[in-house]
């Protein structure tokens, strides 16, 4: 019987803590039917999302918390990153419309630091953002190739 399983983690809003989430994600690898390349894209999307929270929602203040939820469904893996900081400006997610090629003659177009949302969109199948009761949540999902149960039924 196919079931949905969820795990939620909380970290402090410090860059040093983000690596903990990567280790947790890799711990789920045996349960996912994704290649190493696909797992890397999910990790990159997660890290970019949490980076954005640390930098923009909490302005590098280390006293807050970030919640990351992994939801493993039969055909889909979903990640939700939540915070209580400054919400993303309205329309910012919709404006992130793909990664433009850098212009070799223009230094300003080279910097990938400001393109976290574009990277997330390129790595995941769906990306949504909601603000509800003071909690901001970026949800990202990726289709799984198999049953998503890591051989379990």
């Amino acid at each position: 019987m196919a079931i949905t399983r969820t795990i939620m983690l909380s970290i402090e809003s410090r860059p040093e803590c983000i690596e903990l989430l990567s280790h947790a994600l890799h711990g789920l690898c045996p349960l996912l039917t994704l290649s190493a390349t696909e797992m890397n894209k999910i990790e990159l999307a997660m890290v970019e999302a949490v980076n954005n929270v640390v930098e923009h929602a909490y302005s590098f203040e280390p006293i807050h918390h970030i919640w990351v939820e992994f939801e493993l469904m039969p055909e889909r893996f979903e990640l939700r990153v939540s915070d209580r900081g400054q919400p993303m400006p309205s329309g910012r997610l919709a404006e992130a419309q793909g990664l433009m090629a850098p212009d070799p003659a223009d230094f300003d177009t080279w910097t990938p630091r400001t393109r976290g949302l574009e990277i997330i969109k390129a790595c995941m199948d769906t990306v949504d953002y909601v603000v509800l009761d003071g909690i901001n949540t970026l949800s990202m999902s990726r289709a799984l190739n198999g049953d998503g149960m890591g051989g379990r039924v």
């Binding site: 410090r14 860059p15 040093e16 983000i18 690596e19 990567s22 190493a36 390349t37 890397n40 894209k41 990790e43 990159l44 890290v47 970019e48 980076n51 640390v54 930098e55 990664l99 433009m100 090629a101 850098p102 070799p104 230094f107 080279w110 910097t111 990938p112 630091r113 393109r115 976290g116 990277i119 390129a122 790595c123």
Partner: protein, 111 residues
């Protein structure tokens, strides 16, 4: 993140090992910019042992590249791990960086 520096006939070679992410950015940027500043601006970054990099790590490479160019030097990337190659191709920065799989060829390019 561990950085190992050596100099071969005027070209600085820095090998990075570990994860290049937001937490490491200040230290790594400072060390690489210092290498460019103190040398002649010709730098090989060996990324074979970089297991993961995010956009903030990639921004370090870009800032070092800019600093080298302003000094009439150049930065080339060597031995991209699959993870790093994937990020560079995703952001299309292979159009900016010169990438080598062979150190001898990288050194010959910069000399």
């Amino acid at each position: 993140m561990v950085l190992t520096h050596r100099n071969v006939e005027g070209v600085d070679i820095v090998a990075l090992a570990g994860r290049l992410v937001m937490a490491d950015v200040p230290q790594v940027r400072q060390r690489l910019l210092a290498t460019v500043e103190q040398g002649n601006g010709k730098l090989v970054l060996d990324l074979a042992e970089v297991g993961f990099m995010d956009s903030s790590g990639l921004s370090v490479l870009v800032s070092v590249f800019k600093a080298a160019r302003l000094k009439n030097g150049d930065v080339v990337l060597l031995h991209l791990s699959p993870t790093v190659r994937s990020l560079i191709e995703l952001t299309r920065l292979q159009q900016i960086f010169t990438i080598f799989e062979d150190e001898v060829a990288a050194l010959a390019y910069l000399r």
